[in-house]
Amino acid sequence: MKRSIKRFKDSYLFYSFKNDKTAMASFFLLACFIILSITAPVVAPYNPYNAKNIDIMNSELPPMWLDGGSSTFILGTDNMGRDLLSTMIYGLRISVVIGICAVALQAFIGIMMGLTAGYVGGKVDTVLMRIADIQFSFPYLMVAIFISAIFQVMFGVGSFEKLAVPLLVIIIGLSEWPVYARTIRAAVMGEKNKEYVEAARVIGLSRPVIMFRHILPNTLTSVMVISTIQVANAVMSEAALSFLGLGMPVTMPSLGSLIREGFEYIFSGSWWITIFPGIFLILFVLVVNLLGDWLRDVLNPKLYKG
């Protein structure tokens, strides 16, 4: 244990992290966001899902430093009278959960497809990669919007709202897996002719063992790099879907649905319902993107351009 900590401290990764202020600042902010979303029930002043805490008389109160604001609601309240800060923290929690689960699903599908395609090669490779190419030629947001529109019509709005979290994970997972499949395949192609793979083959290990125990660990660097950026993408997609009304319902809002809800009131001057969740969302996506850029530069400068 001690040795691995020492190894980490001596590593290039940690060294460049120490010397990069942007990376450190974004890591710090990201850590804050993650802690905030894990400890939401403790940190948030109120529980926005509990009808007891909601009073319609409190709706659309401005933040406490403006006229008419009260110190009970630091950032004001939304149109239903929920405390905006608490709702935002719970919303962040939902966005983060969906983002991470969706990326896990993407990675799972992508790794399976990419590993098989890259290692087995031949017809399997052609078929799998053609599927990935075809899906890749459509923008992922379009695919996500289509799938969720279909789900919504299929399940009806009522049951869609009940199942919103798992459905969104599936939707975003299905819409972005080709990114992983392509990267993994490229990495596998590079690895599979190396000597250690040949050695493993010579001592008679089975195909799955070689694929998962020997090749996969060596492709994980690229997985790590795209995963960070994919989390940012997934959170953005979720926000976009929720904003379109194809995602989280207003009763259990994510940041996107909170913005959607607030947008209806922006013309009457209640800007805070939109702007605060918006800033939250931008900050979260920004720090994840910055960290992703930094990771990409440090780990593998040639991974992908642009």
Partner: protein
């Protein structure tokens, strides 16, 4: 080359068949054409009769073949809400979306070219750093937030620009095909905010792309040679260097135009822009399956056609693609 074109077209047709199969499967599963056609008072017996007459009891495959046959002839079914052929509804809404995409495309070209070239020539100046920092931030701002902030600042607070709708439109050909906002002052005013927000998604990408391509070209030997010959800086930068960065930029632009179509769904929602994206979301809310499917097929084919054409053009320009990109 010929084989390459044939292969790309075959692939495009295959993709279209897959899209139509998905569309048809959805329609078959969740849509009910009888409900779309008749009122509440039609008895179950009559409904059954209509079903039989429409061939809705045929096997899946033969229904699918009929669907494709109709689709090829431009018949994508009736919209339940508009009581019109779905394709007509889409064509009616298409110009609005096209205008927004064209306007945004123009903005992207006008802004990203000078900024991209400038940041590549003078990467260390304050302005360049500012532009690059801004473009990092721009990637992280969702388009609907950009749009909302623009509305709030210019529409609600300053009252400079209208914040929703298309404004006054004129009928260009006199037959209702193209209701355009390009030719009236009011229409143009309404276009400004939507176009800026739509362009904002792609701007960071293009500035970065032009910058990195340009920087790469500036390091090459022939540019050094041009300097050695004593050509004027403007000539080297704009004629010699810039021309060679255009190829990748144009290719990416072709693909990104398609991606902008996807984002019009978001901008149209914010600005209540009566285009295809807004129509699509309304169709989802109304469970107007035929219109949904028609949109899926139309947008799918636009994408397939654009991608195929871009690929083929690229194949002409860059021969390695024909061999490597099988």
């Amino acid at each position: 080359m010929f084989a390459f074109i044939i292969r790309r077209i075959a692939q495009a047709i295959f993709v279209m068949l897959v899209i139509s199969l998905i569309g048809f499967a959805i329609k078959n599963k969740i849509g009910d054409p009888v409900r779309d056609m008749v009122g509440e008072r039609v008895t179950p017996q009559e409904r059954a009769q209509i079903r039989q007459k429409l061939g809705l009891n045929d096997p899946f495959i033969s229904q699918y073949i009929r669907f494709v046959d109709h689709a090829v002839h431009g018949d994508l079914g009736l919209s339940f809400f508009y009581k019109k052929p779905a394709l007509d509804v889409i064509i009616e809404k298409a110009p609005a979306t096209m205008e927004m995409v064209i306007g945004a495309g123009l903005l992207i070209i006008l802004i990203s070219l000078p900024l991209g070239i400038y940041t590549s020539l003078k990467p260390r100046t304050f302005f360049s750093r500012f532009v690059m920092g801004f473009s990092t931030l721009g990637v992280s701002v969702p388009v609907f937030l950009t749009a909302i902030m623009l509305i709030y600042i210019f529409g609600v607070q300053l009252h400079w620009l209208p914040s929703y709708g298309r404004g006054k439109t004129v009928d260009v050909f006199g037959n209702g095909w193209w209701m355009s906002g390009f030719f009236t002052a009011d229409g143009l005013k309404h276009l400004i905010l939507p176009c800026i927000s739509l362009a904002s998604i792609e701007l960071p990408l293009f500035i970065r792309l032009i910058r990195s391509e340009m920087m790469e070209v500036l390091e090459t030997d022939y540019i050094k040679y041009a300097w050695a010959k004593g050509l004027s800086p403007m000539r080297i930068w704009l004629v010699h260097a810039f021309k060679n960065t255009l190829l990748p930029v144009i290719t990416v632009f072709g693909v990104q135009i398609g991606i902008m179509f996807a984002f019009t769904i978001l901008t149209e929602t914010v600005f209540q822009w009566q285009g295809m994206g807004y129509m699509f979301l309304e169709a989802v809310e109304r469970s107007d399956t035929s219109l949904l499917i028609a949109y899926l097929v139309v947008v799918g084919s636009v994408f397939v056609i654009v991608n195929t054409v871009v690929d083929i053009i690229y194949g002409f320009i860059n021969p390695t693609i024909r061999i490597a990109g099988r």
